[in-house]
Every structure is written in structure tokens, then in C-alpha cells.
Symmetry: C2
Subunit: 342 residues, 2 copies
């Protein structure tokens, strides 16, 4: 009764069915090839014993791991939940496991990456972090062949890796053009973290749209943020202290927009009467804020789905080279942006 039950192996099934392990294996992975009678016997033996294949063993033999690892810069950031959901939904039906690692957790970011680059860990990688050590990724860097990799959301300048991203500059242009179209002449920007490619692209888009509209680009109106709520609130304090304030702000993330709005509202400022705000991402709560937040929609589930498809394509050879998939963005005008006060 209390005896430890040893997990049942393919050997047990073979013995039970009176066939070889090869036959059992065939019934599991290529049933058509085995005689109906034999197959039935094996299937019965499988049912009777409750056999389930041992994945580590199968994977070792097949020289694959059945796992894809997603490397995210910060798992605690809810921005990634929908993306990972898309990844998971794509991987799961194709029989792959999703391994998730936080580049902040490992001994050091580089260490994490190197570990997963090692063989026998994952069949492919999705990098959501453009700041990993480039040296590790140079084709033929270490002595071993690297598993297929795609970089999603972010990218690495000058490194030809399969890539899925959103048209960040276009998103910024859309936001700024929207504000200019409403009649704003003094438009500012809360940026993402310094050095980040998304930050640069959105700044570039902002400048381009400002120039296009014939508006001034004043450096003092570029507030340094880091995508977080707190950095939006911090920018709000700078904005409040300003002699000559921009009448509209494009924020590089919805979280910063929410942080900004919360902080200025606490100081008695009315949005959009006193200042118009446009975010980026279209996080779920954006539509439920007061006022509902105008923003640039970025389809996060799609990013995850496409990134997953791309690695799978690299693995099965369907995808070669370093394709770039740039997903479109869309402006969603809600109530946080309006014509400036007369």
C-alpha cells in the first residue's frame, strides 16, 4: 500500500503488451506504421499501466528540448503579460513549453543569456531585452552554434536578428500630429529610459512630427522618464514648476501618462482643459481612467504571437535570414486630449 510507485516506463508497457520497446515507441509517435492488432494491444497496455512518455528522455534522444525561452527585462512589469500570453498561446498547441527568465534575476544579465544559449536548455529564444551583451550574440562568437533567436519589442542596432516590433516612430508621429491637429503649439514629451531603442525611436518620431507641423522643439519640454508611473508623476512636478509649460504632452508609455495625470490632478490641474495628454501602449485601464486616456495602440498579444511564430519558423527552417516584422500602430483618441484653452 505505502510502497513507492516507480514511474512506469516504456519497458513496462512493452513487457505488458508482449512487444519490443521500439513498437511501443512507434505506436506513440507514428501509429499508422504498426499493425492494427499490435497497436490495439499496445494501446491497451498503455491505458492499463497509465504510461506517459518521459520527456527528458525523449528530448535527449531527439536532440531537442521542446522549450522556448522568453528573456524579459522585468517580469514584474505587467506590460509583458499580454505578450507572454500570446507567446504561450502559440507555443502550447505546437507542443513547446514556455520557459521564462528575467534578465535582472540571474547572476548578471549576461550570465542568464549565456546559460540559455547553452545547449540542451532551449530550442530557441525570444529576447524582449535589447540591452543584452552583443558579444554573446555575434554569430560564431563562442565556439558553439547558437540556437535560433528572435528579438521582439526592442531590437539591436546593427545586429541582424529576426525581429518583431511595432512602428514606434510612426506611433510618436501619430500622437504628436494629433495634438498639433487639435491646435496645440507647445508640445512636450516624456521619454522612456535613456539609451533604450524604443526611447530613441519615439523621440525621433516626436521631433519629426514637431518639425513637420512647424512647431518648436524645446529641449526643456522633453522630460526624462523611464516608462514607470512614478516617472510620470515626477515629470508632472517638473511641469508644474515650469514658467512656460507645454499645453500638451506625448508620453512614451501609458503608465507615465497615468502617473502624470494623477499628479497634476492632485495639484488641481484639469485634463484636458489645462493640459492634453496622449500615452503609448493602450493598456487596459487607459479607457477607464478619468478622463479616458488618448493613446497609441500597440497590439501586445500580436507581438507575442508573431515572435513565437518567428522562432518556430527559424527552428523548422521555414524562416531564414533575419526578417523584420514591423506591426502597425493606431491612434486612439479619447478624452484626455482636446483643443487648448483659448
Amino acid at each position: 500500500m505505502t510502497e513507492m510507485k516507480r514511474p512506469v516506463t516504456i519497458q513496462d508497457v512493452a513487457r505488458e503488451a508482449g512487444v519490443s520497446t521500439a513498437t511501443v515507441s512507434r505506436v506513440m509517435s507514428n501509429p499508422g506504421i504498426v499493425a492494427a492488432t499490435t497497436r490495439a494491444a499496445v494501446e491497451e497496455a498503455i491505458a492499463r499501466t497509465g504510461y506517459a512518455v518521459h520527456h527528458s528522455a525523449r528530448n535527449l534522444r531527439r536532440q531537442r528540448t521542446g522549450s522556448i525561452v522568453a528573456l524579459v527585462p522585468n517580469l514584474a512589469n505587467p506590460f509583458f503579460s499580454q505578450i507572454l500570453s500570446g507567446v504561450s498561446a502559440t507555443l502550447s498547441p505546437r507542443g513547446y513549453h514556455l520557459l521564462i527568465a528575467d534578465t535582472q534575476n540571474g547572476p548578471q544579465a549576461g550570465g542568464q543569456l549565456l546559460h540559455y544559449l547553452g545547449h540542451g536548455v532551449a530550442d530557441g529564444l525570444i529576447l524582449f531585452d535589447g540591452t543584452v551583451e552583443r558579444a554573446h550574440l555575434a554569430p560564431g562568437a563562442g565556439d558553439r552554434p547558437l540556437p535560433p533567436m528572435v528579438i521582439a519589442c526592442e531590437w539591436m542596432e546593427g545586429l541582424a536578428l529576426p525581429n518583431v516590433r511595432v512602428d514606434n516612430a510612426a506611433g510618436a508621429r501619430l500622437a504628436v500630429a494629433h495634438l498639433a491637429g487639435l491646435g496645440h503649439r507647445r508640445i512636450g514629451h516624456i521619454t522612456g529610459p535613456a539609451g533604450n531603442v524604443l526611447t530613441e525611436a519615439r523621440i525621433a518620431g516626436t521631433r519629426a512630427a514637431l518639425a513637420q507641423a512647424g512647431l518648436e522643439t524645446r529641449e526643456a519640454w522633453f522630460f526624462a522618464g523611464d516608462f514607470s508611473l512614478d516617472s510620470g508623476a515626477f515629470a508632472a512636478r517638473e511641469w508644474l514648476a515650469m514658467a512656460e509649460r507645454p499645453t500638451a504632452l506625448f508620453c512614451a508609455s501609458d503608465e507615465m501618462a497615468a502617473g502624470f495625470i494623477g499628479a497634476v490632478q492632485a495639484a488641481g490641474v484639469e485634463v484636458p482643459r489645462d493640459v492634453s495628454v496622449v500615452g503609448f501602449d493602450n493598456i487596459e485601464i487607459a479607457a477607464h481612467l478619468t478622463p479616458p486616456l488618448s493613446t497609441v495602440r500597440q497590439q501586445r498579444t500580436t507581438i507575442g504571437v508573431e515572435a513565437a511564430r518567428m522562432v518556430l519558423g527559424c527552428i523548422d527552417g521555414t524562416v531564414t535570414g533575419a526578417p523584420e516584422l514591423v506591426l502597425p500602430v493606431e491612434l486612439i483618441a479619447r478624452r484626455s486630449s482636446a483643443a487648448p484653452a483659448a
Copy 2:
């Protein structure tokens, strides 16, 4: 130049160093046991070849997988990001990989679970979903031994599984007592999804606190929600249409509270002047809403950390039986709750 580099194996290193594979293996996992000279030679060979252990192979041999799987009901729900971050941060330094699966993704919820219960997939499971098929979990159900499991956040009535959760009823009592203490006599509740254990516990706490305060428990003031923003907004429409409205609402999630507040504000209702609102969770944006949201704080990172520790404890035998860790909650009074209008 273009030749495919075969990954280097322990054999290559052994040959290179002029020792047996056993010695190489020992240098990697128990260096103290091998002579200094030999060790140096092996280490040099490892460096020269760029050898990295093949994890599948090691794991098969060691009869472990090195992975823990987290089964979440909905990966897209940002509620889990911080929890998973805590799990990852705990697992990573202990050398475990984190496998994440969405119970909605698989063929069916039960199928997913069964798959991960199979051997060779994971060394342990953390269930964040209390609605999985109980039959699969009954000790000794199938014919095979089950891997260690802990259930976190939720739990399963009458099933003795190691468990980490928060004191949900106490949280509800705190929230309702807070509102009663402010002078509210008509207090309502927006519930979680029907049938969920969290929902039940928070309803029970609400009723208990209402009774304790000598207040009426009116069924019409219990709005059916499902934790989502939209369900909060939906409840707001019901509330707005009511002849006799509660003056205060305890919402079983911050998202519902935000959805409720957004919707009533859009209808010209002022919070907290016209209605006080308390949420549950203390999500990051709670402090940045207007008004900042009063809520019951639930330490999500800690839940993840403790759940991970508990499975690891089950695996290494440190933890036995079915311990229950109930984490305390805390009321955070912000500006969305105040004394009712005179």
C-alpha cells in the same frame, strides 16, 4: 569556415584533457574530489573548447528536470506579473527554470495539468488556479506518483495541498470595517467571479464585518463582478440605476474599483463625495488614480517567493505534509474613501 560546428560534449573535453569523462564530470560537480593538477588541466580544456554541460542529458541521468511549472489561469492578467517575478527570483538562484503554462491555452484545462503532471516535465508545480480537476490531484489517482505541488493564491476546499495564500476574509473585514468606521451605513460589495474561492472568502468577510458593525446586508448591494475592469464599470451602471444606492462599496479587486470609479465619474458622480470605494490588491496604479484608491494590500511578490520556496522545500524534503501559509493583508486608506455626505 561555413562548416556546422557540432556542440562540444564532455567526450571532447575528456579527450582534450587526456582524462576520462568521469573526471571531467567530477570537476564540474565536485571539484574538491579531484587532484589539483588534473583539475587545472580539465578546466583549461573546458575553457579552450567552450564546453557547456548539456542540460537534458544531465537531467535525465540525475532523474530530475530542473524545472518548476507555474500554472496560471490567465497569463494575460497583469495580476500575476509580480507573483511570477517573485517565483522567478527565488527559483533562478537555486538553479531551477521556470516553466509557465496558461490553463486556458491547453486542449483543455485538465489536459494541461495532466501533461505537466507527467514525469520528465517538471520537478514540481505551483498551481495558481483552484479550478483544476480535483480528480487529477487526488494522491494516488493515476497510477504514477505525482510531483510535489503547491497551490497559491487560491486553494481547493477539502484537498490537503501545501498552500500559500493571503487572509482574504480578514482583508474584506478590514475594508468594510474601515468604511463603517467612516460612518457609512449602506455598504455594498462588488464580488469576484462566481464559484471562485477568493470570491467566497471575501464575501464571507464582508458579511461578517457588516454583521459586526450592526449594518444591513442587502443582497441587491452585492454586485456580481469577475475581477475585471469592465465588470466594475458594469456594476457602476447598475449602481447608478438604483433607487436606494449604497454610499460605499468594497470591491474584490482594484481593477473593478477602477472600472467602477471611471464609470461613475463619467456620469458626473464624485468620489468619495458621492460614493466611497475601497479595492483589493493594491496594484501599482492604485496610488496614482484620482482620487488615489483606498485598498487592501496583498503582497504579490511575497506570495510568489513563498510559493516557490514551498515547492523547493517539498522537493528537497524540507517541507512535508500540507502546510498552509496565510500571509497578512493590510488596509491602505487613500482618498477614495471618506465620511458619507451629511
